[in-house]
């Protein structure tokens, strides 16, 4: 059994008593790349932020759940413990690299700062290591890059710098929230190949958040599908796409243009994702589902199945 580095059990997040994320559990092993997929607003980012307690709190509260990273109980950490967790053991990359880089400091300053704080390196050692990291993420002329400001970089280059910062302390876990959504396909391919290579080389666990099933199918080992605040299915990628069980997973795959002959009418999912507070008592997907049964609207389906493949559906597709 490979070692679990990140484990989330029964996580529930609320705003003013209204649940945004409900009873979410997943585990990430060393060296593993897991995808967290779902449509806008289903709770992917909140779940990721909660694992390192970066939630906007208030208003968002952790109402229940246990989060363990590399043996540490995250909910029990004090501010010093959290600071160390975020820099040392968990690296994070976000969708919009411009907003997470400081526009008034050079790339070199920003990477070196992390190393000075978390690794206690002196200035010149930190800059030397920063140049190595810049090279690691595939930017040319590392020494020159250190002198540049974020606005002088392209979107793909900024995302590489963010990855360099996230990797500075060789974290055990990398959380990447839509790291390529704002980028072009050719640059997306570069960044995904980079993350994949680094997690293999460094044995890092990686949680990749995306709304793109194609990306998940390409680079992840395992994936969890979220819908309206809950994980509705979880399996190895091969299994998930070959034999989707939850009707929502199945519908998502079927609706993609790439799953259909060109020009054909696309199978579509009627209606919209329900907002928090209007998810009903049963399966939140029931009003949109193509094959609901009696229980669907009334009783919440439990996440069941074998260890490698679990789904929460009263009328599984396979």
């Amino acid at each position: 059994m490979s070692s679990t580095v990140l484990s989330v059990e029964g996580l529930t997040l609320t705003v003013g008593g209204k649940a945004l994320v409900e009873d979410v559990s997943f585990h990430l092993a060393a060296g593993e790349m897991m995808g967290l997929v779902g449509e806008s607003g289903c709770g992917k980012s909140l779940t990721a932020l909660a694992t390192i307690r970066l939630l906007p709190s208030p208003p968002v509260e952790i109402a229940a759940g246990r989060i363990v990273i590399d043996g540490a109980d995250v909910r029990a950490l004090d501010s010093e413990g959290l600071r160390r967790l975020r820099g040392d053991r968990v690296g994070m990359i976000f969708q919009e690299p411009m907003t997470s880089l400081n526009p008034v400091f050079t790339v070199g300053d920003q990477i070196a700062e992390v190393l000075e704080i978390h690794r206690g390196l002196g200035r010149s050692a930190a800059l030397a290591r920063a140049a190595e990291l810049i090279a690691l993420v595939g930017l040319p002329a590392p020494r020159e890059q250190l002198e540049r400001y974020p606005h002088q970089l392209s979107g793909g280059q900024r995302q590489r710098v963010m990855i360099a910062i996230a990797l500075a302390c060789e974290p055990r876990v990398l959380i990447a929230d839509e790291p390529t959504t704002a980028l072009d396909v050719t640059v997306q391919a570069q960044i995904l190949a980079l993350i994949d290579r680094l997690r293999r080389d460094m044995g890092m666990a990686c949680l990749l958040i995306t709304h793109d099933l194609g990306v998940v199918s390409d680079v992840c080992d395992r994936a969890a599908v979220m819908y309206a605040g809950r994980i509705v299915e979880e399996a190895s990628v091969a299994e998930l796409f070959a034999r989707p069980r939850h009707r929502y997973t199945q519908a998502l795959i079927d609706t993609m243009p790439a799953s259909n002959p060109p020009g054909a009418l696309l199978p579509s999912i009627r209606g919209m994702v329900p907002p928090p507070g209007a998810r009903g008592d049963g399966c939140a997907f029931a009003p949109r589902c193509a094959a609901p049964v009696e229980a669907c609207r009334k009783v919440l389906p439990p996440l069941t199945g074998e260890a490698g493949h679990r789904a929460a559906c009263w009328n599984p597709a396979s």
């Binding site: 396909v185 990306v215 609706t255 790439a258 009418l265 994702v273």
Partner: protein, 318 residues
């Protein structure tokens, strides 16, 4: 038969940084037949939106010719152009930004009718709302009361108000969730059939482009580098850039992963374009001549086939 739209040598220059000229569009030529959909793809900044806007003269082209239904548009007065635009409409990516938040939906959809002095506005608006699948009472509501997909329906209804012959759709589904995306793609396909619309469909998403287009134009740094039948290009891309672009698309779930051509580097600066083939710095087949001569977009011999590609790897057909 004369094509509906015939664009020759269309060029758009902007004032670039440091007094340089930014060549957003460079010598672009193509035709569009009645009822045909031309998909335009390429990376961010390659000139797709500029092309769409220049064709409607929403952006004034620097040079080139645009013939629409046999009539040259470039010399037309502003007044004559406004009249012509009845037949040419545009839909944008951000359905919210393009809808006036203070106006009711009926006002928004009916506006083009009022501007062009068309009678029977009320009945036509009701018909349009029904055509794009919005509930009849939508007209009395405001844009913010609608979801992203519904807002895009409103924008499409407005664009179709005057029964245009040509629709330029600039990333019409890019901001939408997957389950909503397929609804809008279906709607566009249905309207196209019903109204025999010709379309320029701009998207950076190749699976969407493949799905909706009859023909495709691939752009790189302001130029069309390859164009042809959609099925042919997807089956046998000739230009090395087209090949890289197609290989970078995440595979459809459940389909075998393809070999990735990961491009080095970023899109060059359009205000300082490289000499010769603009792609030569990233091309794995580049030859000495590529850094000197600009390859023309002419029919070239590719194996046993002929393709319209701007690449020195293939000899022009004499």
């Amino acid at each position: 038969m004369t094509p509906l739209l015939e664009v020759q040598g269309l060029t758009k220059h902007y004032a670039g940084p440091h007094g340089r000229t930014l060549r957003a569009l460079q010598d672009v030529s193509f035709t569009l037949a009645e009822g045909e959909v031309l998909g335009v793809v390429g990376e961010s900044g390659c000139g797709k939106s500029t092309l769409g806007r220049a064709v409607l003269r929403l952006t004034e082209p620097t040079s080139g010719s645009i013939r629409f239904a046999g009539e040259e548009l470039t010399g037309l007065s502003r007044h004559a152009m406004t009249k012509r635009r009845r037949d040419m409409q545009m839909v944008f990516q951000d359905p919210f930004g393009s809808l006036n938040p203070r106006h009711r939906v009926s006002t928004i959809v009916g506006e083009p009718l009022v501007v062009h002095g068309v009678a029977g506005v009320k009945a036509r608006v009701a018909e349009l709302l029904d055509m794009v699948g919005l509930p009849p009472d939508s007209g009395s509501r405001f844009p913010h009361e609608f979801s992203g997909g519904q807002r895009q329906r409103i924008a499409i209804a407005r664009a179709l108000a005057l029964s245009p012959k040509l629709l330029v759709a600039d990333e019409p589904v890019s901001a939408l969730d997957v389950s909503i995306q397929s609804q809008i793609i279906n709607l566009i396909a249905e309207l196209r059939r019903k109204l025999s619309l010709s379309m320029i469909f701009i998207s950076h998403d190749l699976s969407v482009i493949r799905h909706v287009s009859d023909r495709i134009a691939v752009m790189y740094l302001g130029r069309i580098v390859e164009t042809g039948d959609a099925a042919d290009i997807f089956a046998r891309p000739a230009h090395p850039y087209t090949q890289a672009l197609l290989s970078a698309v995440p595979t459809a779930p459940g389909q075998p992963k393809r070999e990735r051509i990961v491009l080095e580097g970023d899109l060059p600066d359009p205000s300082a374009p490289p000499p010769g083939c603009a792609f030569h710095g990233r091309c794995r087949h580049a030859m000495p001549r590529c850094a000197v001569d600009i390859p023309a977009l002419v029919p070239r011999r590719v194996g046993d086939d002929v393709a319209l590609a701007a690449c020195h790897l293939y000899e022009p057909v004499s």
